[in-house]
Symmetry: C2
Subunit: 510 residues, 2 copies
């Protein structure tokens, strides 16, 4: 049994599977275009300053705590936040669509702004936009407060994907009725974990959503569907494709770090070489930072900066004769710029984790500990990293110690499937777009082939995590413009088909 | 607030929506063919004497109490019973199908025998037969005993259709793996409530079941999808089609009963006319018995007896000049035969309710009180019965008083849909047979039109509740033989398609 602190350490540092979903973490990776929205966001939507919230209205829905259980406690309610933008809506009579953003592992504060695909395309579709916050994130927290809700597994127990999908089902059903919009087609959309939810929602609630756009949704990264090293294999490929020598330098660097670390003053020297904001306490700390940096760069390898290239240019651009460790540091400087110090709490730019609020991190860690058991690992020779196999036993120990919960690693595939997805869905289901960018390591767990005429895969070789659902920019490369256009055309086709059915059918059973 | 006894009375007597699902209640309606199996069944499968259990093996699966919740209590387990017949199975290597019976609101004891469609067709398909008992029925009861499990809404709260479907998902997934039968197509089948579960299972778990046979599944009898008087309208039509004068006699009889009942010795006279086993305490008691008799006769209007005709022949065959009440009694005698007395606890043949064990009745009543809110009612002039509109308020009061639970009348349509089913499923889902017999009043809530090429409705004008999934008999009418043949051919087509896909595809994502 590990203690609580060790458990935390295991969860937050050693395993990189924990902070690596999320669409909009790139905001923190020094990309001016997305802006440091989080820093201004505070905890409430009202606090936002940079984004024009004029068109958005915030509401709360009185949500049932447990949809699948009839114990008295299950009837407890909480206020679930959702945001509505009706500026562009054609209205219920026009059968204009309703786009529903299926909230992910973060409060709505940032998503509403960051998921620009919605607002960009609302005018064309005359669409009503609805963003629903996922339970236990943002302000949509049961039991009155985050402190109460996150107290232990008795209060956290209601925090599951199936409950979240049922939340969305209830809110959408309520809103359609309330707006007399029963005839308006609903298209759900989301990215990363939110993209999984969007695709699962279309599959489980076809009577509520007519189609789904699932951006960068690694719905196949469960159990043994894909090899566990898929994630880090893509990170490796990204760096290797950027530059073979960069890849080789990184690959060798871990041994250089280990070699230095075992010397008596090794950690001090490493702290100096890497200008760490506080002295390193272990070589693992440094390696964790670097793994996180490389993974983040690959996952959010967005134009126009392309952080993988930025890092590799730094590494390869260091003067000849420089040591491997100096080259690695040059990569960091190329990425972050010249700073007083790097890494750690005092750093100007922190790791991806710090992008999330502590509550959001805690929320996602709970989800990983209960059902979102994404088995990311690495073998000895398959990536540019050192081996680190996925270890369910350690995860289980840590989750028990930290949350008092035992992971159910088989549940997601039991509830949502994933194995043999083409056979299963080629004659079942319809109207799902699985979009991916192949530079995103999570694309390895995405659907990358057309399953049927209307369950399709749209991916770009150069794209990365959730890129397609971010706001369009005049400088976007043509392949990205083209990907978004394809998605828009497909969705327009669904809506046309829906409305054509509507006019030719009548009666209760039709 | 009504008290517990009043609540019980409301639930059991006044509303006839409570005992009217169930496939095999007809066993108690004096049909020798099905036999009085229940009487011999006792509480355990081993106790059966009439049915040859040689080919069936009984197992238990250690089932999770709550699939959608991660509270410590959710991890509690219970033993869920399932029965396997592998006599005809072609084996895992042959890709022979697995037929799974999705248990309904009764213990497995009777279903395994009564659902003869399975055993009848297993040899042709070389099918493995699996029957899974529904949680909280039979021996598949959590908390160690029925007494504990049914104690209050805290222990009953885990008793829901979504949990039952997830139970089936877990057991089937486990068995396929355990038998190395991952490549064998699973076809789920069930009748009435079990038929709803079969169709919902195919819709929610397409990765586990490749097709579903949903016999007499009134999945549209929820919320406002169909008129609330649909059930009793069909009962009325059945009697009217049997004989217009029979229908008229029944229609007038309620007023005759009321007229008599208000006399000072009226109940005594009524008790004498109807030879009740104990003196009537109210006219409603008598009317309840009669409604139950007529409804049951319509629902189970099976060949060769056709109980509706039997009753009507009795009514119409009474000597000219006989009073309406005497004619009604003659109908009862025609149905039950000459007995010492009729109705009530001392009667040789009791109402449908007595077919079920008290635990099963209690279980179904809980389900009605929580989510299976089937709004059966009647207006003033639409049926041969007196008006009795569906009354959600009274149901809610009774359910609160008796179980401490508040019904969720919108949940089933939110979770499983039902509105506009043709629009929703015409391009979504596949491989479902909705079978019905139109004499069954529940067929009014069934799917009676083809939705797509592979979601089809197969019904017979003369058939009744679950008739198609009962054992075949040499005397079966041709329309019944033909219905069953159609179902078998369609299922054979699914399996052929499945196996053809299997041989042309490979790889993890296919």
């Amino acid at each position: 049994m590990v203690n609580r602190k060790e458990a935390l350490s295991l969860l937050f540092i050693t395993w990189h599977l924990l902070f690596l979903t999320g669409c909009f973490s790139a905001t923190n990776l020094n990309f001016p275009r997305l802006g440091m929205v989080r820093k201004n966001a505070g905890k409430s939507l009202e606090a936002k300053t940079q984004f024009d919230w004029t068109d958005f209205q915030i509401f709360n829905y009185t949500q049932t705590l447990d949809h699948f259980n009839y114990r008295p406690e299950s009837y407890t309610t909480f206020q679930q936040r959702y945001v509505v933008n009706s500026r562009y809506w054609g209205g219920a009579n026009s059968s204009s669509p309703i786009f529903v953003y299926t909230g992910d592992e973060a409060g709505l504060d940032i998503d509403v702004e960051a998921a620009g695909f919605f607002t960009d395309n609302a005018p064309r579709f005359k669409a009503l936009l609805i963003y629903i916050e996922h339970r236990y994130y943002g302000t949509s927290v049961p039991f009155g407060s985050t402190e109460e809700a996150f107290q232990n597994s008795s209060t956290l127990g209601y925090f599951s994907s199936a409950q979240a999908l049922a939340d969305y089902a209830e809110i959408i059903t309520y809103l359609k009725k309330n707006l007399s919009a029963e005839n308006c087609p609903v298209i759900v959309a989301g990215g990363s974990y939110g993209g999984m939810l969007a695709s699962w929602f279309r599959l489980k609630y076809p009577h509520i959503a007519y189609g789904a756009l699932a951006s960068s949704a690694p719905i196949l990264y469960f159990e043994d569907i894909i090899p566990e090293d898929a994630y880090y294999s893509v990170v490796t490929r990204d760096f290797r494709e950027s530059n073979e020598s960069c890849y080789n330098t990184i690959r060798q660097s871990w041994f250089e770090i280990d070699k230095m670390a075992i010397l008596s003053n090794g950690l001090t020297v490493l702290s100096q070489i890497f200008k760490t904001c506080s002295p390193l306490e272990s070589s693992q700390e440094l390696k964790g930072y670097l793994e996180s940096l490389y993974s983040g760069a690959a996952q959010y390898d967005f134009p126009p900066q392309y952080p993988v290239d930025t890092i590799c240019n730094g590494i390869d651009g260091a003067p000849p004769g420089k040591s491997i460790l100096s080259r690695i540091f040059a990569g960091i400087v190329a990425f972050y710029g010249e700073l007083d110090c790097y890494f750690g709490e005092k750093s100007q730019y922190q790791s991806q984790e710090s992008f999330y609020t502590p509550e959001e991190l805690d929320g996602w860690h709970w989800q990983v500990c209960s059902e979102m058991v994404i088995p990311i690992g690495r073998g000895s020779n398959d990536t540019m990293f050192q081996a680190q196999p996925f270890d369910l036993k350690s995860l289980t120990e840590a989750c028990q110690a930290y949350y008092g919960v035992i992971p159910r690693p088989h549940w997601i595939t039991t509830e949502y499937g994933g194995h043999n997805i083409k056979s299963v869905l080629q004659r079942f289901g319809s109207n799902i777009i699985f979009s991916n960018g192949l530079r995103d390591p999570y694309s390895s767990g995405g659907v990358l082939q057309n399953i049927s005429d209307s369950i399709v895969a749209i991916y770009t070789a150069q794209g990365a995590h959730c890129l397609d659902i971010l706001s369009a920019s005049p400088n976007d490369p043509t392949w990205l413009v083209s990907q978004r256009n394809s998605e828009v055309e497909i969705i327009a086709g669904w809506i046309a088909q829906y409305n054509s059915n509507l006019t030719t059918s009548s009666g209760n059973q039709t």
